[in-house]
């Protein structure tokens, strides 16, 4: 007997069909993985079960939860189910909690609402639940506010809210996508334990096949609002009968072909970082005193030669982005020096930095947030041209933009479009076009593919590899994703607590990590091959 049963569910918003004939079921104590790329309808399916859809959505078909017809249920009935029998965990822990309420209030609120418990009773249960998800009272009293917690801790609070009343079904929509691999492994363990403890059904939504394979008993693969394939996880992914399943599996393990045609530069290093340290002022403890400053980057030294591709990996908060900002001369080190092409760039004025800026560019993580939505592509891609010695005139400028667009696989005609006319992957191509238009020697890329779907990610990784070969650009990739590091870099530097604790050839570091930090990262990284193999072994 299934806990949740979805039969031929279709959903439209206005005239646009979003879901078509979705079939899906979750049994008590079962983990169902719902996989698909962005826009495939995963989240909308989840919101249908919660009945938290936008007003304009129209549904047909049948959704039954524990014998209740969800599509016909009244709002009052749904309020009684939500948070009590069905809990939900969302993707973005940084914004999922109300910033003006304490974590205790937020966990206890649902308990009080559904059980009518007194404040004291509800707070006691909230306390127990927070203990259960790994937020002990000593460090995390109920009076903490969300902004005092890290992303992983906040996600634990969200899970505590969702599981406080021991729901029969938990829906987790990309619960670990915003977290680094080590935190991801911890949160997944927690979810697994909660399923086992209470025979809770778990609908786990993710774009990450490896994560789902590690967690789910059965898997449903969505594309464009339709179920492509569904069945036992291990069998579905090992046999890969459906072409789309195969495509997804291959894309998530994609490694670009990189022939070593160009010479890695000899002699003078392109970038030289010498015992760089960056301190941030400590918290104010009294009117005139502050606690000891926080050391974000601690005595880091390394160098890169031209054409080299280096990955800087580490957990969130390890200092890798601070280091990148200093390399880009957006932030100054507290001590130490950074030399780019032999010239010191620390403590220089913007005018003196101009020539250095020309030779180093940046690609950011979020292809949605890094463009002004009201400017055309021509202007956006041409942005870095102001650092050139001689400003190109209109025709030259269009020519350069057209070239850059061509190089990243877009059409020169795209010049007159606005950013919203492009998909996420195309937008990341735009930001790469913007980065290479000045023909830089070094591109710093901060998590350049982690916001992208697996198949798009594969294409963008290919593009990075191709540009590295064709133009001889050196890359510094900042990432917590070891698959990306493996795919694109010659060397890996592992950063931990502000220090670089390990450096070496990519394959050596990832296959035989020496430092504890590197071992933790490698051990926690989900791996599709390993996960399938383990599942098959367990099932015999």
């Amino acid at each position: 007997m299934s806990l949740l049963e979805i039969e031929s569910l279709s959903l439209t918003i206005g005239d646009t069909p979003i879901l078509r004939n979705i079939e899906l079921s979750v049994a008590p104590g079962e983990v169902m993985g719902l996989v698909g790329e962005s826009g495939s309808g995963k989240s909308i399916t989840a919101l249908t079960v919660m009945q938290l859809l936008p007003y304009a959505a129209r549904t047909t078909g049948r959704v039954a939860f524990d014998g209740i017809d969800i599509l016909a249920a009244s709002e009052d009935q749904m309020c009684a189910l939500r948070g009590d029998d069905i809990g939900m965990v969302f993707q973005e822990p940084m914004t999922a909690l109300n910033p003006v309420k304490t974590i205790g209030e937020q966990v206890a609120e649902g308990i009080r609402w559904h059980t009518g418990a007194s404040r004291a009773d509800a707070e006691e249960r909230a306390r127990k639940m927070l203990d259960r998800v790994g937020l002990p009272a000593a460090q995390f009293p109920l009076s903490r506010y969300p902004h005092e917690l890290s992303g992983g801790q906040r996600q634990r609070v969200v899970i505590a809210i969702a599981c406080a009343l021991k729901p029969k079904l938990l829906i987790a929509d990309e619960p670990t996508t915003a977290l680094d691999v080590v935190l991801q492994a911890q949160i997944l363990d927690l979810l697994r334990d909660l399923v086992a403890e209470n025979r809770m059904g778990l609908l786990l939504i993710s774009h990450d096949l490896a994560v789902v394979t590690e967690m789910a008993d059965r898997i449903t693969i969505l594309r464009h609002g339709e179920v492509m394939e569904a069945g036992d996880t291990a069998r579905t992914l090992s046999e890969q009968l459906h072409p789309y399943t195969r495509q997804l599996a291959q894309a998530s393990m994609h490694v670009p072909a990189r022939a070593r045609t160009h010479e890695v530069g000899q002699g003078q290093p392109l970038l030289r970082v010498d015992s760089v340290t960056r301190d941030y002022p400590g918290r104010r403890t009294s009117l005139f005193k502050r606690s000891a400053p926080t050391r974000a980057v601690d005595n880091v030294s390394f160098s890169m030669t031209s054409g080299q591709s280096v990955a800087l990996v580490g957990r969130s908060g390890c200092g890798k982005s601070t280091l990148a900002r200093m390399i880009l001369a957006l932030d100054g080190p507290t001590s130490g020096t950074i030399r780019f092409r032999g010239q010191e760039i620390t403590g220089k004025s913007e005018a003196d930095l101009k020539s250095a800026r020309r030779d180093m560019q940046v690609v950011f993580q979020d292809p949605y947030g890094s463009f002004d939505p009201r400017q055309k592509v021509e202007r956006l891609v041409a942005e870095p041209l102001h650092v050139l010695e001689k400003k190109p005139d209109g025709a030259e400028r269009r020519e350069m933009v057209a070239n850059a667009l061509h190089e990243v696989g877009l059409s020169p005609r795209d010049m007159d479009k606005y950013p919203h006319e492009f998909s996420g992957g195309q937008r990341q191509r735009l930001s790469i076009a913007r980065a290479i238009i000045t023909r830089p020697k070094l591109v710093v890329a901060d998590e350049p593919v982690s916001a992208l779907d697996v198949s798009i990610r594969a294409q963008i990784l290919d593009l990075f590899a191709e540009l590295n070969q064709k133009l001889g650009i050196a890359y510094l990739f900042i990432t917590h994703d070891l698959i990306v590091a493996r795919a694109i870099s010659d060397e890996v530097m592992v950063m931990h607590d502000g220090r670089i604790v390990e450096r070496g050839k990519t394959s050596e570091v990832l296959d035989h990590p020496q430092s504890e930090a590197a071992r933790a990262l490698v051990g926690a990284a989900p791996d599709l091959h390993r996960a399938i193999a383990r599942r098959l072994r367990e099932q015999g």
Partner: protein, 330 residues
């Protein structure tokens, strides 16, 4: 809030003290700067107060004598310090035209203007926030459109015209309240309040219209936040989510506008007090300007400036009450 104050580590409390002291210092600095500007502007404006007091027929010697008596011949900085020092001890000097201490004039008038401003402020908040909640809860539907249409009208209609309509309807036609004038608080609380009702409404309504629109848009923005979805996923009905989770988060922009509006409210009293013939500060300053009674103008303007700064200081402090993130900022 109590949880923060009782917490073991002293972080947030001292951060709060630092925030408080910083705001206080900024408020004081603003006040000093404003006093300099007010003093300087009136110094530049042509027209000799001594000449004005004595009339056009007075001789140059007489004027010079009076100027010496009034201290008008002292160096500028000295006169400023004298004036500013007087302000601190509530000694505003003597009015040239009324020949009484300015403080007495102010004291007489402030008991009309202050209640008027406070009633108007309370009224506008009490109208605006429920309307904003109502509209945001029905975003895009008929109720929202009607409420916001009314608010648009409220913003567009000038308050003196609206005041005249109120007088026509409630005083002339329905004869519920007096059309103008103020009987004084000595005549009893009820008659005095009755005289303030229409002016307060006339002042409050345009303010309420603006505030309602701000409340609505702040709420709508907050309602799109992820934590609202989290709250709904807990099983709270929409209304509870609106009150418990959205409203407090939407308060920051609302408080900001409320603080800014207070200055407009005070400016509005000058017009409204004239329409309703109320003996308030607004009318005092209006008359003082036409009679070039500079010392009265200076004093009343400084008083209004101080009131606006005080209200905005309160707004700054209430941010910290609303938002815990401000309390613990280093």
């Amino acid at each position: 809030m109590p949880s923060v104050w009782t917490k073991q580590d002293s972080g947030p409390v001292t951060a709060m003290t630092a925030y408080l002291l910083k705001r206080l210092a900024i408020a004081f600095a603003t006040l000093v700067l404003a006093s300099m500007v007010v003093f300087a502007v009136l110094e530049i404006i042509p027209g000799d107060p001594a000449r004005l007091m004595l009339g056009m027929n007075a001789s140059a010697d007489q004027v010079e004598l009076l100027r010496n008596q009034m201290g008008l011949n002292a160096p500028l900085a000295l006169r400023y310090l004298h004036w500013a020092g007087g302000l601190l001890s509530l000694d505003f000097g003597r009015s040239y035209t009324y020949s009484v201490p300015v403080i007495d004039l102010v004291r007489e008038r402030v008991v009309v203007s202050l209640p008027l401003a406070l009633i108007a402020l309370a009224l506008s908040t009490l109208i605006a926030i429920p309307v904003g909640l109502f509209s945001a809860g029905r975003h895009g539907r008929a109720g929202d459109t009607i409420a916001m249409g009314a608010a648009q009208l409220g913003v567009a209609v000038p308050n003196f015209w609206f005041a005249l309509m109120l007088i026509y309807l409630f005083a002339v036609w329905l004869r519920l309240v007096p059309a103008g004038g103020f009987p004084g608080w000595g005549a009893g609380i009820w008659p005095a309040l009755k005289a303030l009702v229409l002016p307060a409404i006339a002042l409050a309504l345009p303010q309420a219209a603006i505030l309602a629109r701000v409340t609505r848009s702040a709420l709508i923005e907050v309602l799109n936040e992820d934590y609202i979805r989290t709250a709904r996923a807990k099983g709270l009905p929409y209304r509870a989510v609106l009150w418990r989770h959205a409203l407090r988060n939407a308060m920051i922009p609302v408080l900001t506008i409320l603080g800014l509006q207070f200055a407009f409210l005070l400016a509005g009293t000058i017009i409204i007090e004239n329409v309703f013939y109320l003996p308030g500060l607004g009318r005092l300053v209006f008359q003082a300007i036409t009679q070039r009674d500079l010392i009265v103008v200076e004093s009343v303007v400084m008083l209004l400036v101080a009131a606006v700064i005080a209200v905005n200081l309160l707004v700054d402090l209430s941010y910290a009450v609303v938002d815990p993130r401000l309390r613990s900022r280093p």
